[in-house]
């Protein structure tokens, strides 16, 4: 189910602009890896390059390797659509499909790909995904109403349900709680703890407490200055990172003594 991700010398570009430079890292299976760092340091850009969402932006490309269980995502023979089927993503802002019901939103990954399944299988998948996202009890009586009728926190959990309904190997989250209130944030953090039993999870966050609470390993990105590429400064077990970081910049950032 879950897979190890190895990143070798990854450079990420927007057209001529080098946004992230020379990343080497390993993301362990069945664990939560947090990506922290100041704004503009390339955390989101990096996480989007792990499932080839980066190249959905015009002119964007990468060099280097991302190996998922030894298979290079950026090999010429790899189809980005297949990659995204294996590696799901949850975005910063909840984005349920407004034309679809809650039910259809959850199985959108199947519906949009026109994969047929009978009603019983679909019902089962919807219930399983919604329960996995801690949303089942709140919406089980109104599965036919529109996805945009839910609150922001519920919408975000709906998006998580949608991402896990297709049973990906890896789940990437790009600041999933930054638009949510503390209670919804807590619900999603609990959910992340449950999900890591089955999935490899990568999460970008601006919230250091959140990184400390949910993650097993933490990667710190930094940027030398405006217009310079972001770099991976340090990556270690979360406890070590937050108690005895090896690099001074990491210490400055997590203790708040930083720009």
């Amino acid at each position: 189910m879950s897979k190890r991700i190895e990143v070798n010398d990854l450079n990420i570009y927007y057209g001529p602009f080098l946004a992230v430079e020379g990343v080497h890292m390993t993301i362990e299976p069945r664990s939560v890896t947090a990506f922290i760092g100041p704004s503009g340091c390339g955390k989101s850009t990096f996480i989007r390059s792990l499932n080839r969402m980066h190249e959905a932006i015009r002119g964007a490309y990468v060099t280097g390797e991302v190996l998922v269980d030894g298979q290079n995502l950026y090999a010429p023979s790899t189809d980005p659509v297949d990659v995204r089927r294996q590696i799901g993503m949850v975005f910063q802002r909840p984005n349920p499909f407004p034309t679809m019901s809650i039910y259809d939103n959850v199985i959108a990954g199947y519906k949009l790909n026109a994969r047929r399944m009978n009603k019983a299988t679909a019902d089962e998948k919807v219930e399983k995904a919604l329960q996995g996202a801690n949303l089942w009890n709140e919406v089980k009586d109104r599965l036919d109403s529109s996805g945009s009728s839910l609150s922001g926190g519920q919408q975000q959990r709906l998006c998580i349900a949608r991402a896990i309904a297709v049973e990906p190997e890896v789940l990437l989250m790009d600041e999933p709680c930054s638009a949510l209130d503390p209670i919804s944030t807590l619900a999603i953090e609990d959910l992340i703890q449950e999900l890591k039993e089955t999935y490899t999870i990568g999460i970008v966050t601006h919230n250091m407490q959140q990184a400390a609470r949910v993650s097993d390993r933490t990667a710190f990105f930094n940027i030398a200055g405006t217009g310079k590429p972001g770099r991976l400064i340090e990556m270690d077990a979360t406890d070590t990172m937050f108690s005895t970081p090896k690099v001074q910049a990491t210490n400055d950032y997590i203790s708040g003594r930083f720009g």
Binding site: G88, F97, S145
Partner: protein, 411 residues
């Protein structure tokens, strides 16, 4: 207390400087009646500011002092409509006295008199800012009435005159063999529906696909070039489209007198396609990129994202755009006169021969009047009325589609 009437009160500095030295007023800092401030004016002064005997407050009629006071008087609510009626009555009376009364003249002069009047009254009572607000409100309202007046007048005229022949015969008979009264425009209605329908069948797929290309795929000089050409095509005169279609068919078929419904439909679709492209492009741009990304992230290929997410999300706007495009061409006369001509009888064959359409029918009835001329004029009006009704029905269908398929928010 050192606060004297007329000086702007500054309680904080005033109090801090005096703490403990002199006795505070028992009411605290809000005690002194500050003339002209929001606490100083009592409600009964609303509407009658400047009453002699009110101590201190700057007279609202005094422009310098009235401007910054937040509680300068307000005009009573009934004053504005009252003033409007009064100016209308005054203008009408004056014009009647001069013996030059006309409805249009009365309306225009009333608007002028009311605007000037409301400004003067508001300037005196309410001060500069509110007076400007009222004048601008009056001007905007006048502009709205000016924009609506021709429309209402047009619909009223067409409806009243068109009703004379709004009967069963008009919608069931053609003009074949009719020389005077009677007859109908059934052949022209069929022709209009056929020609516009074929033009729509050509333009809507081409237009929607072109706009999808522009929004989802196109880039660089090719995209800019196509956008420019679409903009240019939106503005080409309809007669040019007619001549183009006529020349195209004449040259291709080697028949210098070629007339057919297809040629007419081609002419209309030349006019229609750019409108569809432009409106659909705007609608597709409104679909948030987040939805496209959500779909990509689920491993959905781009073409399925477009057909299953982007187009359904914008279907309401697209339907509205298509309706506008149809309304734009359904009343075209010149290109159809060239490519289609007109006949008196039915011609269901779109590939060959002349056929009638409603706008050309109305033009022909008006232009080539026989005896009695009233019968021809009446038929022309009824044809115009039918055309307006068809456009209205299409509009309703467009709105219905937009309503049925628009994203449901439940809020």
């Amino acid at each position: 207390m050192s606060t004297t009437p007329g000086t702007p009160p500054t309680p904080t500095t005033d109090r801090s400087g005096k703490t403990g030295t002199t006795s505070e007023s028992p009411h605290g800092q809000s005690a002194p009646v500050r003339p002209g401030s929001s606490l100083g004016l009592t409600p009964e002064q609303f509407g009658t500011p400047g009453t002699p005997g009110t101590p201190g407050p700057p007279g609202p009629g005094d422009p310098v002092a009235a401007e910054p006071t937040p509680t300068a008087g307000r005009l009573p609510q009934a004053l504005s409509p009252g003033l409007l009626l009064a100016s209308a009555a005054a203008v009408a009376g004056l014009l009647l006295l001069l013996g030059r009364f006309t409805v249009v003249g009365t309306v225009v002069l009333t608007a002028v008199v009311y605007t000037v009047g409301i400004y003067v009254v508001a300037r005196v009572v309410e001060g500069h800012r509110r007076a400007v607000d009222r004048v601008v409100t009056a001007l905007v309202t006048v502009a709205f009435v000016l924009a609506m007046a021709p429309l209402v007048s047009l619909i009223w005229t067409v409806a009243t005159r068109g009703l004379a022949r709004f009967d069963v015969a008009f919608f069931t008979q053609s003009m074949a063999g009719v020389v005077g009264e009677g007859g109908g425009a059934a052949h022209a209605i069929i022709g209009t529906l056929q020609v516009t329908g074929i033009a729509t069948l050509i333009s809507v797929p081409v237009g929607i696909m072109a706009s999808v290309w522009l929004v989802e795929y196109g880039k660089g000089p090719l995209k800019r070039g196509i956008t420019f050409l679409v903009d240019v095509m939106t503005g080409i005169p309809s007669i040019v489209a007619g001549l183009f279609a006529f020349a195209l068919f004449s040259l291709l078929l080697g028949d210098p007198g070629h007339r057919s419904g297809i040629a007419g439909a081609i002419a209309l679709s030349v006019l229609m396609t750019p409108v569809v492209v432009r409106t659909c492009e705007e609608m597709l741009k409104l679909v948030p990129d987040e939805l496209r990304e959500a779909s990509f992230a689920l491993g959905v290929p781009r073409w399925r994202t477009i057909t299953k997410v982007v187009l359904p999300t914008s279907i309401g706007g697209i339907a509205a755009g298509v309706t506008i495009a149809i309304a734009r061409v359904i009343g075209e006369t010149a290109p159809l006169l060239i490519t289609l001509g007109f006949t008196t009888g039915f011609n269901f064959d779109m590939t060959e021969g002349r056929a009638s359409t409603l706008p050309v029918f109305a033009f022909d009835q008006f232009r080539n009047r026989g005896l009695p001329p009233e019968a021809f004029i009446d038929r022309a009006w009824t044809a115009a009325l039918s055309l307006i009704i068809i456009v209205m029905v299409l509009n309703g269908i467009g709105r219905l589609i937009a309503y049925l398929y628009a994203p449901k928010t439940n809020r």
